[in-house]
């Protein structure tokens, strides 16, 4: 904080955090193995830090230990037998770079490449993002339509699908996200839309649509809207009506009505407004993916 002195000069005055008054009892740990990290996270009031911004924003005052995950061997991205695995330490920027070579049309490239800003994409990690899945997440929509899974080690080690992960947040306590898996990430046509006023804004909602076609037949389509009261909503009614059908069926579907998602009021608009606009963009995304009409942001 800068204050103006009686001499007329401006001077930086440190706040409590800058003075180190907020707490000095925090211990930082820098484990080099997943087992070591998991053991540290089993301790009370200990929190993992992947490098992103959530902890900086929330502060460390309620913790006695921070486990820095940067040295863990979790900074990788690989595609084997069609399964995409992304290590928890990959930043959004790294995922976009690596995936641009492996699978450039993957919806994750569009979604994570447009999240936040360049400097933040260089810090936000997949593991941290999965742990918090904030309401403005650019990962959760694509995660839903690609039917990703979350792999963990520690107290509750295992593999979780998105709905069980979101429904059981206490499972994360003492548990380390090690990677995310996308069993079938390649060869989807996709469209990703984020509702923002300026590029680096938090999106009010996002729309994710992926589809596979065979000639004029829709083999499979998946659609999701994030940012509503349910965090992420799969539009299963639309999916069921279109899967296995001819592309022409889209014209007979009242997408606008079927894509209604419930929102709370947000700075960008009322719940009704956001619901209306989201439905419009679901319709546009479906037309883009299935019929090749333009929509992306």
């Amino acid at each position: 904080m800068a204050v103006r002195r009686s001499s007329g000069k401006y001077e930086d005055v440190p706040n409590d955090r800058q003075r180190g008054r907020s707490m000095n009892m925090i211990e930082w740990y820098f484990p080099e193995t997943v087992d070591e990290a998991a053991a540290l996270l089993a301790r009370e009031r200990t929190v993992p830090h992947g490098g992103g911004t959530s902890l900086v924003k929330s502060g460390l005052s309620s913790f006695s230990g921070v486990v820095d995950l940067a040295k863990l061997p979790l900074n990788y991205l690989k595609m084997e037998k069609g399964i995409l695995e992304i290590g928890a330490n990959q930043t959004f920027a790294s995922v976009v770079e690596n995936l641009s070579n492996l699978c450039p049309d993957c919806i994750l490239v569009a979604a994570l490449g447009s999240a936040a800003s360049t400097a933040l994409r260089n810090r936000i990690t997949i593991g941290g993002s999965v742990s918090f899945f904030p309401p403005w997440s650019d990962l959760i929509g694509p995660f839903s339509v690609l039917e990703g899974e979350i792999c963990t080690e520690g107290k509750n080690s295992g593999t979780y699908d998105l709905s069980s992960w979101l429904a059981n947040r206490p499972v994360q306590k003492g548990t380390l996200v090690t990677s995310v898996l996308f069993p079938d990430a390649a060869d989807w046509d996709s469209c990703y839309y984020r509702e923002v006023r300026v590029g680096f804004d938090y999106p009010s909602f996002t729309v994710s649509v992926v589809a596979r076609k065979n000639g004029s037949k829709i083999e499979q389509v998946r659609a999701a809207v994030s940012g509503g009261l349910e965090r992420v909503t799969r539009l299963s009614g639309i999916e069921e009506r279109l899967n296995g059908k001819d592309l022409s069926q889209l014209a007979f579907l009242d997408v606008h009505k079927m894509a209604r998602v419930t929102f709370g009021r947000k700075p960008a608009g009322s719940a009704e407004y956001l619901s209306e606009i989201a439905a419009v963009h679901v319709e546009r995304c479906l037309k883009s993916v299935l019929l090749g009409e333009g929509e992306s942001r």
Partner: protein, 155 residues
């Protein structure tokens, strides 16, 4: 706690609070070329290069950056020996109050390291987290184009 950092090629050993962010540690140790703006990671005025990546230093815990290489704008050029990017900003009038400029220069530096001849779209993307409230972005983008041309052709 204590940590060592390599700032602009020079090894430093500094003390800081466990929850201190890199921005404060740099400024408290004389690197006032790193500007404090919003403190929320939104304006980009505090950007530095951590290893090879542009980051908002207000959003990085100093503890997590210990042992790493940090480049501030003072590490790439000076008033007597400006970097071609700095020179291009001056010549095109891409500076007004100058508050955002150090971070803007570093963002462009990172961009041109990876993409020597960026498109306008790539320039806009690279600068998406650096706000300028004076000039707008037309002159800044012009400066980036000029710097890219000069650095590519070694003018």
């Amino acid at each position: 706690m204590k940590g060592s950092f390599i700032v602009n090629g020079k090894k430093e050993e500094w003390s800081f609070a466990p929850d201190a962010v890199l921005l404060d540690v740099l400024r408290n140790n004389g690197h006032t070329e790193v500007h404090r703006g919003c403190g929320e990671g939104e304006c980009g005025a505090c950007a530095v290069i951590l290893e090879e990546r542009l980051v908002n230093s207000c959003q990085v815990f100093a503890a997590s950056a210990a042992g790493q290489k940090i480049t501030t704008v003072a590490g790439i050029g000076s008033i007597h020996s400006p970097h071609p990017i700095q020179q291009a900003f001056v010549e095109t009038g891409a500076i007004q109050c100058g508050f955002c400029t150090p971070a803007m220069i570093l963002a462009v530096f990172c961009l041109l390291q990876k993409t020597p001849n960026p498109t306008d779209e790539e320039i806009r993307k690279a600068l998406d987290g650096n706000l300028c409230r004076c000039t707008g972005y037309v002159k800044i983008i012009e400066a980036v184009r000029l710097a890219a041309r000069r650095m590519s052709s070694n003018e």
